[in-house]
Assembly symmetry: C2
């Protein structure tokens, strides 16, 4: 049977596996890997989770091993609502404002599923988070790309793109503006308060939805916390995505969508067709863990670990990378440093060389939705042990 020709148009839009191969190399543990965005497993609160998982399966097996509502575990929703109130100042959320998802990757996919047609537009940063690009791309929209600056999206570009679409009568086809305001993946930058306000103003003016994705907000090592776009907009025209992946465990696969009830209801309908429900066991386990109220103590421990690693990497970059014109972001949080080399470098080609000397990163080209070559690269400092960070950077520097 000749399978290839039977695949759907949608499947043909999915990015070829080159990038996936590359990610596999980048997470190869026999080399020094600055590749994947996987947290340090020593930051996971395994003792507490182990104890709680036993309790949940013993006392709540009738819930935790049974089918659950597509919308999510009500007890977990209570905990999320509490966190959003206490740490984000977001009030007034009810259960119907929340959908629990299998990681925020599913949240991204569901937003694509319920909003995007082939003639739709999405506005995204360039570079863009790889997972968002692949979630949206499957639905075939056109990407409007906005450059990232040190303080976030280039707002002038946002404005002129919106004006442009409006003039062409196509503004209603722009389904949302996707943004990672805190410690952007891959770029490491954070959107300033002024730009957050300006973005809201523009989005409201042109009546466009903002999709705010905040996986890294709790991992701040320096500087002052900035209010969520959702908070600043009082929830008006903003959907907020979050996840437990970076502050608790990515393997547990718990994410969420918060915001407008109509959008949440539609996303739940889409999720019902996609996987019926998020595992009830992991939902209830996370709920009971959050009820303990210790998660942010644990996050503070992780912050200490990551801050030190980040500083080690920045110091090593400073010390060894002496190529003229090379620069890199100095993130106040999150997991990534974005290095921009002079244009003559092609970091995709360089990647093969790097592998040979036992070090991996993600080439910048992976984070662009066009097929450009790129002289950027993403370095993750979270996973490798401290002593490998300097050595890895030294090896990359030597290649340059």
């Amino acid at each position: 049977m000749e399978i290839e020709k039977r695949f759907s148009k949608m499947s043909k839009r999915m990015r070829s596996s080159i990038i996936r191969e590359l990610l596999r190399d980048a997470t190869n543990t026999s080399i020094i890997s600055f590749g994947g965005g996987a947290p340090d497993p020593e930051t996971f609160d395994r003792e507490a989770l182990s104890k709680l998982s036993q309790e949940v399966l013993t006392n709540e097996y009738q819930y935790a091993l049974q089918y659950g509502a597509t919308e999510g575990d009500p007890i977990l929703k209570d905990e999320f609502i509490k966190i959003l109130k206490e740490r984000h100042g977001i009030t007034g959320l009810e259960h119907d404002n929340l959908l629990i998802t299998v990681g925020s990757q599913q949240a991204l996919d569901l937003m694509g599923r319920i909003f995007l047609d082939e003639d739709s537009y999405v506005m995204v940063s360039h570079p863009i988070y790889l997972g968002a690009a692949s979630a949206f791309r499957a639905y075939g929209p056109k990407f409007i790309t906005i450059d990232l600056e040190e303080d976030g999206l280039n707002i002038n570009q946002v404005e002129s793109a919106l004006k442009d679409l409006d003039k062409k009568g196509e503004i209603s086809k722009l389904k949302f503006i996707y943004t990672v305001p805190n410690f952007h993946n891959p770029a490491g930058v954070t959107m300033s308060l002024e730009k957050r306000k300006a973005l809201i103003e523009l989005a409201h003016k042109y009546d466009v939805l903002i999709l705010e994705d905040d996986p890294y907000g709790e991992l701040r090592y320096e500087g002052e916390r900035l209010p969520d776009i959702y908070y600043l907009a009082k929830g008006e025209g903003v959907m907020l995505l979050n996840t437990m992946s970076k502050i608790m465990s990515p393997g547990i696969r718990i994410g969420m969508i918060a915001g407008d009830k109509q959008v949440v209801a539609k996303a739940a309908l889409a999720k019902q067709g996609a996987d019926l429900c998020t595992p009830t066991f992991t939902q209830r386990l996370v709920a009971r863990y959050l009820q303990q109220g210790t998660i942010f103590n644990k996050v503070n421990e992780a912050i200490e670990v990551y801050r030190k690693k980040k500083n080690l990497m920045l110091d090593a970059l400073q010390k060894y990378v002496t190529v003229e014109g090379a620069k890199w972001t100095k993130p106040e949080g999150g997991l990534f440093i974005w290095v921009t080399l002079p244009e003559k470098y092609d970091t995709m080609k360089l990647f093969e060389e790097a592998k040979k000397v036992g070090v991996a990163y993600i080439p910048g080209a992976a984070f662009y939705v066009d097929d450009r070559t790129s002289s950027d690269l993403r370095l993750s400092f979270c996973l490798p042990p401290e002593d490998q960070i300097e050595e890895g950077i030294k090896r990359i520097a030597k290649l340059l």
Copy 2:
């Protein structure tokens, strides 16, 4: 912001929430519910799972709380390959022939995603499993519906539909034939060996893929086990879906797709955009549980429970439902009895009456992809306690 008009074409194809409301009523625990297909939670092996979950999080937290490969846990794949060999006689499967999914609902969605376009056809039984209908419908294909007989799909209809498509030059647009050969949901019927062979022959003749979904095969109460279509076809042109939902736990959300490597690879690519990976914790937990080798002892206990409940329900139907022309299937396994009433009954309308007297079922109309009214209804005997089964049937009979 006016949201409704912004939703995608895909989202508009998703079935309205009427059915979902109905399912919610059907799983309301304050009434006698013959609605949902949820297993009896007392059949869950909670002690073993509780102990293992602690061990997994203590000893394997570096895997079980971390991101995993989209394709699935290799140890779990080993166990599935072993089960497929020992219990299904299927040999020669390698890791690349398997994708682990979030329940078989995700497997259905991924098959839709990689194969179906708006101009595609899928051939399905009528009635059809609700979850398959909603997974496929989202992608907008045309349904070719085939009646179910007591021994499975009406093969003459299959043949003439295939011939028809071939004559119209549209056979390549038929992406697959979807079938639940064992203890069909909702109809309870099992496809005979002869029909399995005939279906394979036709599918091979017209070069069409078969999608075999087998969630209930292990729940056989009487009669002799029949070989899988996949087995009979030696895997040629068949993809096999399975799940732990009915033999271990639905809340754990572990399903799988087995078959052609090219299809599995494409489904994995689709899954990467959909949710990155299935929770590593639940995958590893199921893997360690299967390694214990006790699962089918536990399934045998469940079979005893369900056989008794099924017989109770059949007896009650026999005793109380005296409406002339009413008939029902006598399933040899699975969880469902399909009752067909004389045409004057509309089981959707009757459902409201039934709720008032404290009993619920799923109206037949839920299982048809056209908008017909139906005099069928699906009864599930697995969840209600034994003493409620007779009482529930008595109440339904009284309404008739």
